[in-house]
Amino acid sequence: MASSTSVDQLDIFPEELVQGENDFHSVTEMVCGVLEAPKPPKSWYVIFTTAVALLGVLGAMILYLITTGVGVWGNNQPVAWGWPIVNFVFWVGIGHAGTLISAVLFLFRQDWRTGINRFSEAMTIFAVICAGMFPAIHVGRIWVIWWVFPIPNQMSMWPNFRSPLLWDVFAVSTYFSVSLLFWYMGLVPDLATVRDRAKTKAKKFWYGLFAMGWNGSNRHWHRYERAYLILAALATPLVLSVHSVVSFDFATSQLPGWHTTILPPYFVAGAIFSGFAMVLTLSIPARKMFGLEELITLRHIDNMCKVIMATGMMVGYAYSMEFFMAWYSGNAYEGFTFVNRAFGPYWWGYWIMVSCNVLTPQIFWWKKARRNLALVFIISIFVNIGMWFERFVIVVTSLNRDFLPSSWHYFSPTWVDVLTLLGSFGLFFTLFMLFCRYLPQVAISEVKNVMPQAHPHLDDH
């Protein structure tokens, strides 16, 4: 029984993953208590109401867009990819931490993932929904968006499979489908827990329906764990491929500032960076709001800060390497683009990006900073802002001064652009608040599994 010795017995970790005097039942109580409480905390109502209001704004903006045309945005030649694509890359990047925390950390046997994986998977699903919306509405004629899929049609035409934009369709939709399966599969045993504790008929029915009749059978657990491992093993290269493919949208073009081989790893590092920041932004208030401090501990937050610092330095390296290559290649256009990026009309965007993404996370060298919740929360917001600006810088500064100086154009967003971005946060937080209220926020069975008492203590071994 190789697994009979728990990691805690080896004394590798200074702190236990579940803190306080907790047993299996108290963990169940803690997580299920959130969705069994007759009323959520007041702050939930405040956030949910705001989010729904913003969701309404999003609906209005999309309706206005569809009925009027993409001219309501600031997009125009030469900046034909404006905020919609910036927002797409921003959201899809956030959507990567979920699968990374779930799958990659699972494969590396990082047990601390159990406290935050449900959170981040939910975040992934909702962020990818927000992300997928932008290219769809960006096509202008959204009613023919099905043309991106290889569906037999009366035009006898097929999509061009050698277009990076089509790879994107396949990558993002595969990522969404697999993330959804992964998330739902992880939810099933916990839904069974909620079902077995449910008091009302409606709850018994709905949780029972989605719990699939799970009864904790070890024969089921055996196949379940195997399938979960396979999904994790599939999701790991998938998460790397998806953001690489997103970067191909840029890298395979011939535009200075986009046409670089560094883009795929740079985008993936950026995605992990922004995703972890968003997990922190969400989990720091949520653990407080719903009393989950003993499950999402300071150790979790500490670890995530370390990941943020590491990936922040990776993107910092990418920023500097882009400049180096622009100079080293001797390509005058490439050189111009990068000088223009840092000192041209959008210099402020570039320096917001650098200070938020490269400089501020350096404070996490200090353990005190990593465990100061208010500070971590603020830095996570900075990183979110910085990563939005990174995409803005990549998209807009590469396009706004193209080869023909007569067509140079200073891109400005319209009020519709701004409200659509705000509205997408409304969509995200509406879904997230519903998740917090109606689904177990922490993977109950997985947390139990990493508690010391989850392992048989056999004297003869």
């Binding site: 029984m1 697994s3 009979s4 047993d23 299996f24 039942h25 169940t28 006898s156 097929w158 999509p159 061009n160 499979f161 050698r162 990076p164 089509l166 790879w167 396949f170 990558a171 595969t174 489908s177 697999v178 399966l181 992964f182 045993p189 069974a192 827990t193 077995d196 504790r197 329906l209 699939m212 009749g213 799970w214 009864n215 904790g216 059978s217 070890n218 024969r219 657990w221 055996h222 196949r223 379940y224 764990e225 195997r226 399938a227 396979i230 999904l231 599939l234 999701a235 998938l238 491929s241 493919v245 191909f248 069975s445 997985e446 599994n449 008492q453 989850a454 392992h455 048989p456 056999l458």
Partner: protein, 497 residues
């Protein structure tokens, strides 16, 4: 009461994972096959303690993953390299590297769906009813308690012995579990609702199927018709925007459109006040350089048909005659423009001929600028001048014999373009041994060609038409000749045997 219920088995509760693990080993060793452990999380090592075989799930996923890989590859190959090819800068229609991202995604998609769904199928889930759910304590199997259930269907199962086995191995409590009395049928209300929903869901596919492959004379349904029907003003359309209801508007007085250049009447049309001009417009300056320019343009544009000497025997003409000799073409020869009627035409008239074409000649306004057209005319006038200087004076003509005069006239009226004497192809009738030959007319009647027929044909070519010839096809540029000249021509052809 309990007697008429079927026994499902016994379920025993254990206090922790260690107790569960120990008991599972004992049950396994006792030789039970149909039994199970239930725990709120997967207990590591329990698979061995239960003596379970390793699942074949990974193999299923591998096979479906390979299927996905091939499907992803074939999807792209068939759609992009076979059924609908994209010719982009002549690149190959099939190049694997560009197809790898989609192949990878489809492989992952197939594998993930297989892993997910095979797991549920192999676990016989979803199954919303289970006899164990009837046991009240069992609800803690998803919370903090651990259970072993022995199934009554197992060969080794014996209520007393099995209960004892569990009790001896640390069970907190052993209980019997019974199947439900009534079959676990779906409530009639849900059944009815499901039926209604299913029927409603069948309507759209049924409608699609009904219209599949059908034809209609009705216009297409346009949900969002802005691609097909756009608000715009159509030429000759109606509108309520203007009082007169017409969409096509007259030009505003005193303006010109952008493509309407300012026209110098004589320079651009060759006409002034509706009359052909008889001199060069004032915008052109007829100098030697201008005439040289005209010569260059003439040799480029006119010479190929009319010949560089203007006598109607350019390369095209030679080739057409050769083709006609082989029976591949018919050919109306170009006019000799150095003499005859062309020489007396007004400059404006010639300008119009070059600009807009005449008879089979196309217009050249698109290829030659107005100034160059005038330059060509200037050069043409030079050619005509040279020709007239070479031409015989009336005195010299009078001094010649009748048939020699006829020979000159034969060229002057460009008879030689169509009529030959050597018996090979010519456009008009061959004129050697003409008089006295039999001519079949299109009326079916056959006449003998005599002097009267000859004269009539020159003066009124359409009077009698040979069989197979185009009525009135014969033209006499600069004609008709005078009666004396016709006599000279007659004398000339008499000499051609």
């Amino acid at each position: 009461m309990t007697a008429d219920k079927e026994l499902y088995g016994v379920v025993a509760e254990f206090k922790d994972v260690t107790a569960l693990y120990r008991a599972a080993e004992k049950v396994r060793d006792a030789g039970y096959k149909k039994w199970d452990c239930h725990s709120p999380f997967p207990v590591h090592g329990l698979d061995d303690a239960m003596g379970m075989r390793f699942t074949r799930l990974p193999w299923v996923v591998l096979i479906m993953g390979i299927t996905g890989l091939l499907a992803g590859m074939y999807l792209q190959y068939w759609t992009n390299a076979v059924d609908y090819t994209y010719d982009i800068s002549g690149k190959p229609v099939w190049s694997l590297p560009a197809n790898i991202p989609v192949i990878f995604e489809v492989t992952v998609l197939f594998s993930a769906f297989t892993a997910f769904f095979s797991m549920w199928i192999a676990n016989r889930l979803p199954r919303w009813y289970h006899p164990l759910f009837r046991n009240e304590r069992f609800s803690r199997a998803t919370d903090d308690s651990f259970f072993i259930a022995l199934h009554a269907k197992d060969k080794k199962f014996d209520l007393a012995a099995s209960t004892a086995l569990l009790n001896e191995n640390g069970a907190l409590q052993v209980e019997e579990v019974f199947e439900a009395n009534e079959p676990s049928a779906m409530p009639a209300k849900i059944k009815g609702n499901l039926l209604v929903v299913t029927c409603l869901m069948l309507i759209p596919p049924a409608m699609v199927y009904a219209s599949y492959g059908s034809t209609t004379t009705e216009p297409r349904v346009h949900l969002i018709p802005d691609m097909d029907k756009q608000d715009r003003f159509r030429a000759q359309g109606e509108t309520d925007l203007f009082e007169d209801g017409r969409m096509t508007r007259d030009q505003v007085a005193g303006t010109i459109s952008q493509d309407q250049r300012f026209i110098h009447a004589s320079l651009e049309t060759g006409k002034e006040n509706g009359e052909y001009v008889t001199s060069f417009p004032q915008q052109v300056d007829v100098t030697e350089a201008f005439i040289d320019r005209g010569q260059e343009r003439f040799e480029i544009y006119c010479g190929v048909c009319h010949g560089e000497d203007g006598k109607g025997t350019g390369l095209i003409h030679h080739r057409a005659v050769e083709l006609a000799n082989l029976g591949h073409a018919t050919w109306v020869p170009p006019t000799n423009i150095t003499a005859g009627a062309i020489g007396t035409q007004a400059d404006g008239y010639l300008f119009e001929t070059i600009s807009d074409g005449r008879r089979t000649m196309p217009g050249y306004a698109a290829q030659i600028t107005a100034e160059d057209r005038w330059a060509i005319i200037a050069y043409l006038r030079v050619l005509q001048e040279v020709e007239s200087m070479n031409a015989l004076s009336p005195e010299e003509m009078a001094a010649l014999g009748a048939s020699a005069r006829g020979s000159v006239l034969f060229e002057k009226y460009t008879c030689n373009a169509c009529h030959k004497f050597d018996g090979t192809y010519s456009i008009g009738p061959v004129l050697s041994n003409f008089l006295g030959s039999e001519v079949k007319l299109d009326s079916g009647e056959t006449i003998v060609a005599d002097e009267a027929y000859f004269t009539e044909s020159i003066i009124d070519p359409a009077a009698k038409t040979r069989e197979g010839a185009l009525k009135g096809a014969m033209a006499v540029p600069g004609g008709p000749p005078t009666a004396e000249e016709i006599v000279d021509l007659l004398e000339y052809i008499k000499t051609q045997k």
